[in-house]
C-alpha cells in the first residue's frame, strides 16, 4: 500500500504545485508532466508488486464519525491500476509538448490540477472498499474529467459537450447511488461484500440499476451518447486518458458489483453478452460514418467496450453454467482487452492530437498524405490501427483470440446460450471486418494518398515528448502481440479472482499459456516468412531500374487531389447496408442552370440512440416540466409555506407508522 500512497501524493502534489508557477509556462509544464509521470511510475511498480505478492492490503478511517472510508487492494484492483498509471504517465509526458499555448498559463496550471485529480480519483475508485469511498472517488473522477473536457471553453461545442457529459455522468451516478441505496436499505451496511446475502430478485434489480450507471460511464450502446461529444472536445491527452482508462472504470464497477453480488443466475451473463454484441457492432458502424477523426475514435471506444463486454459476458455465462474453461478464457480475454484497448486507443488519440498539431484540422476529408510529412506519427498510428482491428501480430489479436477461444468452449451449451455464444462469435468476426474497413479508411484517407488541402500539405511532425509517448505505446502494443505469455499474467490473475467460487484447476491456466505460446508461434512464423519474402523482393529488385511517375489515371489526364476517394465515399456502401440502424442524412445541392453556381454535398450520420433519447425521453420530460413551472413562482412566503407543509406531512407520516 505504501508505494501507492507515495505515488498518489506525488501525483496530487504535481497537480497543485503548477498553480504557484502559472506565469512561467515551461517550468509549470515540466513540473506537472514530470511529477505526474514520476508518480504514475511509482504507482505502476506498486501495483505490479501488490499483484504478484498477492497479499491483499487495506486501510480504513472514519469520516465525520459515521461514514467509513476504507481502501483495499486485491488482484482485480491491482490489475485496473496498471492501465491507470501506465496511460496516466504517458499522457502526462505527451501533454508537455501538446499544451503549447503560452498565453494560457493559468488555465494550463488548473488543467494539470484536474488532470492529477482525475488520475488519483480513478486510483481511489478501484481501491475503494465501501460504498461511501467508492462514490466519493467516483464523483471526484466525474467532476475533474468534466473540467478537463472544457479546456477550450471559448468554443460553444466544447461547452455543449461538457454539458452533455456532465448530465450523463451525474445521471449515471444517480443510478449507482440508487443501486447502492438498495443494498444499504436491505443489509444496513456500507460494505459492498454484504450484497452477497441479498435475495436473487433484488440482486437482479441492483445489478441492472448499477449497470445503467456504470454502462453510461463505460459507453455501452444506448447510454453512450456523451462519448462522441466529449472525446473530440477534450485535449488529446485527456481523450487518451478518458477513453483509454476512465471508461474502463465503468467496466471495473460492473465487475466489482458482480463479484460482490456473486449471482448464480444466467441472466447476468446473457444480458452483458447482448449489450456487448449490440455495442460492438453498432459502435463500429457509427465509427464508419464519422468525418471527424477523434469522433471516429470515440465510436471505436464503444465498439471495444462491446468486445470487452462480450468477453465478460462469456465469462459470467461460463460461471453460471459451470464451464470454467469458458469462464476463465472469457474473463481473461475481456480483461486483457481492457489493457490492450487502453494501450492502442491512447496511442490513436495521441496520434489524432499529433495530426491536429501538425495540420490544424481533424476533418478526415481535409487531410491526406501525412505519412510522408509526419513519419513517426504515421507509423505509430498504423501500429495502433492494426492493433485495434484485432489483427495479428499485434496486441488486439491476443485478447480477441482468447475471447474467441472462450466462446468456442460453449459448444456443448443448451439452446439459448449456444445461440448467444454463436452470435458472439459471428459478431466478433463482423466487428473485426468492419474495423478493418474503418481503419483502412483512416489510414488511407488521412495518412496516404495526396494532401487534399493546403493545411494537410503543410503538415509538420510533432515535438519529441509527444512522439516518445506514442512510440512507447506502439512498442507495448507490438511486444504484447509477439510475446503475450509475458503480459497475460495480470489479466489471468484478475480473472481467477472473478471465478474464485467456480471449481477450476491448473489445466485451464496451462491451456491459456499454451494459447499464448501458439500466438507467439504464429506471429513468429508469419514474421519469418515476411522477412524471407521481403528479402526475395529485395533480390528481385537488385540492379533493376525503378522509375517514379504519376499514378495511372485510366486515361484521365488532369488529375487533382480532389478526385481522390474521400472517407465519406469509402464508407457509403457499408453505411447503406446498415441503413435501418444508422440513418445517413444527406444535403446535396447539385449544379443547375446554364451557369451553375457552386455545388455542395454534406452528409451526417445520425445516432439513433441520441435521436430516440432526445425525442422520446428528454423532450417529453421538458414538456411535462413546463406545465409544472407554476410551482416555482418566486414568492418567498409561499416557498416557506411549502417547507412547513412538507415538514408537517413528513411528521404526520412518521406518526402514522
Amino acid at each position: 500500500m505504501k508505494p501507492l500512497f507515495l505515488s498518489l501524493i506525488t501525483i496530487l502534489a504535481s497537480g497543485v504545485l503548477p498553480l504557484f508557477f502559472y506565469k512561467r509556462f515551461t517550468l509549470l509544464k515540466a513540473l506537472a508532466a514530470g511529477g505526474i509521470s514520476l508518480g504514475c511510475m511509482i504507482g505502476l511498480s506498486g501495483a505490479i508488486n501488490s499483484l504478484y505478492t498477492a497479499r491483499p492490503a487495506a486501510a480504513a478511517w472514519t469520516w465525520l464519525h459515521i461514514l467509513p472510508l476504507s481502501l483495499h487492494v486485491d488482484t482485480l484492483t491491482a490489475f485496473f491500476l496498471i492501465p491507470i498509471f501506465l496511460i496516466g504517465s504517458l499522457s502526462a509526458l505527451y501533454s508537455f509538448h501538446y499544451l503549447s499555448d503560452q498565453t494560457k498559463g493559468l488555465r494550463t496550471a488548473a488543467h494539470y490540477l484536474f488532470f492529477s485529480l482525475l488520475i488519483a480519483a480513478m486510483a481511489f475508485v478501484v481501491m475503494a472498499d465501501d460504498m461511501v469511498t467508492f462514490l466519493l472517488a467516483w464523483e471526484f473522477m466525474s467532476i475533474s474529467s468534466c473540467f478537463l473536457v472544457v479546456y477550450d471553453y471559448e468554443q460553444k461545442e466544447t461547452r455543449h459537450a461538457a454539458y452533455i457529459y456532465f448530465i450523463f455522468t451525474e445521471a449515471g451516478a444517480l443510478f449507482i447511488f440508487a443501486a447502492f441505496g438498495v443494498i444499504y436499505a436491505v443489509t444496513g451496511s456500507f460494505n459492498l461484500t454484504s450484497a452477497a446475502s441479498l435475495l436473487p430478485d433484488i440482486k437482479l434489480l441492483v445489478f441492472f440499476l448499477a449497470f445503467i450507471g456504470f454502462g453510461s460511464k463505460a459507453g455501452v450502446f444506448p447510454l453512450h451518447i456523451w462519448l462522441p461529444h466529449a472525446h473530440p472536445a477534450a485535449p488529446s491527452h485527456v481523450s487518451a486518458l478518458m477513453s483509454g482508462v476512465m471508461i474502463k472504470m465503468g467496466i471495473y464497477g460492473i465487475l466489482r458489483l458482480y463479484l460482490a453480488l456473486s449471482p448464480d443466475s444466467v441472466i447476468f451473463g446473457r444480458g452483458i453478452l447482448i449489450f456487448g454484441i449490440v455495442s460492438g457492432v453498432l459502435g463500429v458502424v457509427y465509427a464508419m460514418g464519422q468525418h471527424n477523426l477523434k469522433r471516429l475514435l470515440a465510436y471505436h471506444s464503444i465498439e471495444n467496450i462491446g468486445i470487452i463486454l462480450i468477453g465478460l459476458g462469456l465469462g459470467m455465462t461460463g460461471v453460471s453454467v459451470g464451464n470454467p474453461a469458458m469462464a476463465f478464457l472469457g474473463f481473461t480475454g475481456g480483461l486483457m482487452h481492457v489493457l490492450n484497448h487502453a494501450i492502442f486507443k491512447a496511442l490513436l488519440f495521441m496520434g489524432a492530437g499529433s495530426v491536429f498539431h501538425g495540420t490544424g484540422t481533424l476533418a478526415i476529408d481535409r487531410l491526406g498524405g501525412l505519412m510522408k510529412r509526419m513519419k513517426i506519427t504515421g507509423l505509430t498510428f498504423l501500429a495502433g490501427s492494426v492493433a485495434i482491428c484485432g489483427l495479428p501480430p499485434l496486441n488486439g489479436f491476443v485478447s480477441e483470440f482468447f475471447i474467441y477461444n472462450g466462446a468456442f468452449q460453449g459448444r456443448t451449451l443448451e439452446k439459448t446460450d449456444f445461440l448467444l455464444v454463436m452470435l458472439a462469435v459471428i459478431s466478433l468476426a463482423v466487428i473485426g471486418g468492419l474495423a478493418v474497413a474503418c481503419f483502412t479508411k483512416v489510414i488511407g484517407i488521412v495518412f496516404l494518398g495526396e494532401p487534399r488541402t493546403d493545411e494537410a500539405g503543410r503538415a509538420h511532425e510533432s515535438d519529441p515528448s509527444m512522439l516518445y509517448a506514442m512510440g512507447i505505446l506502439a512498442v507495448c502494443s507490438i511486444a504484447i502481440g509477439l510475446a503475450p505469455a509475458l503480459f497475460v499474467g495480470p489479466s489471468a490473475m484478475a480473472a481467477a479472482t472473478l471465478l474464485a467460487k467456480t471449481p477450476y484447476d491448473n489445466t485451464i491456466y496451462s491451456d491459456l499459456m499454451t494459447l499464448c505460446k501458439d500466438i507467439s508461434l504464429g506471429a513468429v512464423v508469419f514474421l519469418v516468412l515476411l522477412v524471407i519474402v521481403a528479402m526475395m523482393r529485395k533480390g528481385f529488385y537488385r540492379a533493376k531500374e525503378t522509375g517514379l511517375g504519376p499514378t495511372w489515371g485510366c486515361g484521365f489526364t488532369r488529375p487533382s487531389p480532389r478526385i481522390q476517394y474521400t472517407g465519406a465515399s469509402f464508407a457509403a456502401s457499408i453505411l447503406e447496408f446498415f441503413r435501418p440502424v444508422a440513418p445517413v442524412h444527406e444535403e446535396y445541392i447539385g449544379p443547375a442552370g446554364v451557369f451553375p453556381s457552386r455545388a455542395s454535398y454534406h452528409s451526417r450520420l445520425n445516432d439513433i440512440a441520441e435521436d430516440l433519447e432526445v425525442n422520446w425521453m428528454a423532450l417529453p420530460i421538458v414538456r411535462l416540466m413546463r406545465h409544472l413551472r407554476w410551482i416555482q413562482h418566486g414568492n418567498i412566503q409561499l416557498y416557506i409555506a411549502y417547507i412547513v407543509i412538507a415538514i408537517a406531512a413528513l411528521l404526520l407520516a412518521g406518526l402514522w407508522r
Partner: protein, 304 residues
C-alpha cells in the same frame, strides 16, 4: 515429413491449378486457351521486369505485396493436404489464418488508397465491404465445425479420428457448408460472379482495380499470393468432400489432386455460364452463403 513435401509440391502447383480455370473457360467458348504453364510464364516475366512507382505512394505500397504473399504462405502451413499432417497446427489456428488474410487485406486496401487514384479507392471500398460479410459466413462455419469436432484447428477438422467430411452421418448438412464455402471462395478470390479477374479496365471491379499501379516483382508477389489463397480455399473444400483416409498413399494424393482440379474446373464453368453481378447484388450473394452456414449450424443443434 510428407506434409512438408506435399506443401512444397502444392506451393509450386498452385499457379498451375489456376490455369485449369482459364482452360475450362476457353474450352467452353470453343477456344484452345492459353498454354498450360501460362501463369508461370507470367510470373517469370513479371519477376524479370523493373517497376514504376507512383510518386504519391509511400512504403506501404511496397510492403503490401510482401504481406499478402507471406500471409498466404503462412496460411498454407496450417492446411493438411491429402490427409497428411500439416507443418504447424494448434488449437485456434483457423482464427489466426483468417485473421492473417484480414491483415493482408488491410494492407492491400491501404496500398490501393496510397496511390491517390479514385478508381482504386472504389475497389478498396468494395473490398472492405464484401470482406466483412464473408468473415461472418466463415466464422459461422467454424462454429459448426467446433460443435461437430470440438477442435479449432484445420488439422482437427480434416485429419484424425473425428474428421469432418461429406461421408459421415451429418454429411447432408455439410452440403450446405460446402455450398457456402464455395460462394465464399468465389467472393474472397475475386472470381465471377462477384468480381472479374480477366479485365483491367472495368470500373466496377474489386481486386484487380486495387492493384492497377503495381508492376514488376511486386505484381508477381500479389499474383502468387492470390494463387496461394485460392488454393487454400480449394484445399479447404476438397478436404470436406473427400472421404477420410487413414494414411497418405498414392491413391490419397491422387484423389486430392483430382478433387482440387474439379473445384477449379467448377470455378471455370461458373465463370463461363454466369455474368458478373451488379454490385448491389453481391452482398445478397455473400449473405446467402452466410444464411446457408447459419442454417446448417441451427440444424446441427437438433442433431447432437
Amino acid at each position: 515429413m510428407e506434409g512438408l513435401v506435399l506443401l512444397i509440391i502444392f506451393l509450386f502447383l498452385a499457379p498451375f491449378f489456376s490455369t485449369i480455370i482459364q482452360k475450362v473457360k476457353a474450352f467452353l467458348v470453343g477456344k484452345q486457351g492459353p498454354p498450360l504453364f501460362i501463369n508461370y510464364f507470367t510470373l517469370a516475366k513479371l519477376l524479370a521486369k523493373g517497376s514504376v512507382y507512383s510518386a504519391s505512394t509511400t512504403f506501404i505500397f511496397r510492403l503490401s505485396p510482401v504481406i499478402s504473399l507471406a500471409a498466404s504462405m503462412t496460411a498454407l502451413l496450417f492446411m493438411p493436404f491429402a490427409g497428411a499432417a500439416p507443418i504447424l497446427s494448434f488449437q485456434g489456428d483457423v482464427i489466426l489464418v483468417f485473421y492473417l488474410f484480414g491483415l493482408a487485406r488491410f494492407f492491400t486496401i491501404c496500398a490501393a488508397l496510397d496511390t491517390a487514384s479514385p478508381f482504386e479507392g472504389m475497389g478498396a471500398a468494395r473490398e472492405a465491404y464484401f470482406a466483412f460479410l464473408c468473415e461472418a459466413a466463415v466464422f459461422t462455419v467454424l462454429v459448426l465445425f467446433y460443435r461437430l469436432t470440438g477442435s479449432l484447428s484445420l488439422t482437427g477438422y480434416f485429419t484424425g479420428p473425428d474428421v469432418i467430411n461429406l461421408w459421415r452421418p451429418e454429411g447432408a448438412l455439410l452440403l450446405l457448408v460446402i455450398a457456402a464455402m464455395f460462394m465464399v471462395l468465389l467472393a474472397e478470390n475475386s472470381r465471377v460472379p462477384v468480381d472479374d479477374p480477366a479485365t483491367h479496365l472495368e470500373l466496377t471491379m474489386i481486386h484487380e482495380v486495387m492493384v492497377l499501379d503495381h508492376s514488376g516483382p511486386d505484381l508477381a508477389f500479389i499474383e502468387l499470393g492470390a494463387f496461394l489463397k485460392l488454393f487454400f480455399y480449394a484445399a479447404f473444400i476438397a478436404n470436406l468432400v473427400l472421404p477420410s483416409r487413414p494414411t497418405v498413399g498414392f491413391a490419397g494424393i491422387a484423389s486430392f489432386f483430382v478433387a482440387i482440379s474439379v473445384i477449379y474446373a467448377l470455378v471455370g464453368v461458373i465463370e463461363s455460364i454466369t455474368a458478373r453481378f451488379k454490385m448491389g447484388l453481391v452482398p445478397k450473394f455473400i449473405l446467402t452463403s452466410f444464411a446457408l452456414a447459419f442454417f446448417a449450424t441451427i440444424l446441427v443443434l437438433e442433431l447432437k
